[in-house]
Symmetry: C2
Subunit: 227 residues, 2 copies
DNA sequence: GGGCAAAGGTGTACGGCGTACACCTGAGGT
DNA sequence: ACCTCAGGTGTACGCCGTACACCTTTGCCC
């Protein structure tokens, strides 16, 4: 038994990655430092380096670990339902692990599961009859939305951003358009306050708008411009 | 004259921000640390804190400084040309200052010029007759493209990413769709190798696809779903 | 079972970061 | 001539990632 417990609480790449994901889920990405993570595992920081090459590899491992939650549905239905379903599924992962977004944004991650997702989406377009050139273009147009998030560069909802009254007044004075549009989103109060603006409906709106555009170009027999 | 030179080489917020922008342009965003920046200015790190509150404010200041390069064209033509022109102009700034993207991505910047750009685009939609609700939706769908960049999460061109032959072979084996689409983009060789994939045409493709979608929804009299 | 390589955990140290805080210095107004 | 106070300085703290040398434990082979 001593040996089994001994074996059980040995470190392993799996244990390290699991702890890193748990830590990021619980305390945010910034809490994931080699030192803090080691402490969480009851071990000295340098011990981690026997299991991951460096912090970048740790982050890659975290990405692949949560991307493993994908159920990889087969491609029944057309390209559109296949892609839509896949992207919405990745979105669910991203909602469970909010740090995923920042990790994917900040680095050119090229892990097997990342490439696998891209390959699956590209494959769905091609199986749907998209030319390689059009597929290439629409993949660029897809951008980060392929990972289930909109960029959210102007957060009009989430944080304690509901500004103080005098702040709101100043904003309305100098940026009347922002104020007006922000107001309409929240006029029923709980809409914005409760779940921000990047809610499911908002994301699907943008996703379908893109997919509509792709379908239209495909149907119209799009070919690359002159060259 | 002694006093004038003395005055001239005193630090100032402007000098600090200008040096920070120059440093980021020349050596990348990671080179912009308080210590390195101070050294560049021939001054001790803590001296900077008499002119910017902290590093976040420094970054905000840098953003506003380069956004000041906007020429703010008036809104001749319809909403579409106005917005298209504005976004492409911001894109030019972003191409001159590649670090801008990471700064905007990583933080919820709410400086006057950032808000001003958002307000101008929102204003163009509204002036074009878009309802506030539709404007709100399309702004979300716009996402980071409003700042002139596509997310570029799968960089198939830019860096030394043109993989070694055996790497390419392995990629083609496991991710045939990625390989095929990446190949088509570069089949004329100089296309991808020379200027990557996020070139002007690629960006405008995605931009116009979005604008087409917006126009179509607007023309169809889009109204928000049930509620 | 004894010996031994290899794998895994430790301790120390280095150079970076942002920035708090006490201090000094020199220019401007009275 | 003095005072004030904005602006530059020096030191220090607690983080960070990680190189490197060391020790301990494990598992295998004779």
């Amino acid at each position: 038994m001593a040996s089994s417990t001994g074996t059980r609480d040995r470190l392993s790449r799996e244990r390290v990655l699991a702890a890193a994901v748990a830590l990021a889920d619980a305390s945010g990405l910034d809490a994931v430092s080699m030192r803090r993570l080691a402490q969480e595992l009851g071990v000295v920081p340098m011990a981690l380096y026997k299991h991951v090459a460096d912090k970048d590899e740790l982050l890659d491992g975290m990405v692949d670990r949560v991307l493993g939650e994908l159920s990889l549905p087969e491609l029944t239905g057309g390209w559109r339902t296949a892609i839509r379903g896949r992207v919405l599924e990745v979105r669910q992962i991203q909602l469970r692990h909010p740090w995923l977004r920042r990790v994917l944004e900040s680095r050119a991650t090229r892990t097997p599961l990342v490439l696998g997702h891209l390959d699956a989406v590209i494959g769905a377009f091609r199986a749907g009859g998209f030319s390689d050139a059009l597929t290439h273009h629409v993949m660029h147009a897809f951008g980060s939305r392929i990972w289930g998030f909109t960029q959210e560069l102007f957060d009009d909802g989430d944080p304690a951003s509901a500004p103080s009254p005098e702040q709101a007044a100043a904003l309305a004075q100098y940026f009347p358009n922002i104020a007006a549009v922000a107001a309409v989103a929240g006029h029923d109060d709980d809409t914005v306050v409760a779940h921000g603006c990047d809610d499911q409906a908002e994301f699907e709106f943008a996703l379908d708008l893109l997919l509509d555009g792709f379908a239209r170009l495909h149907a119209a027999g799009w070919v690359p411009p002159q060259r």
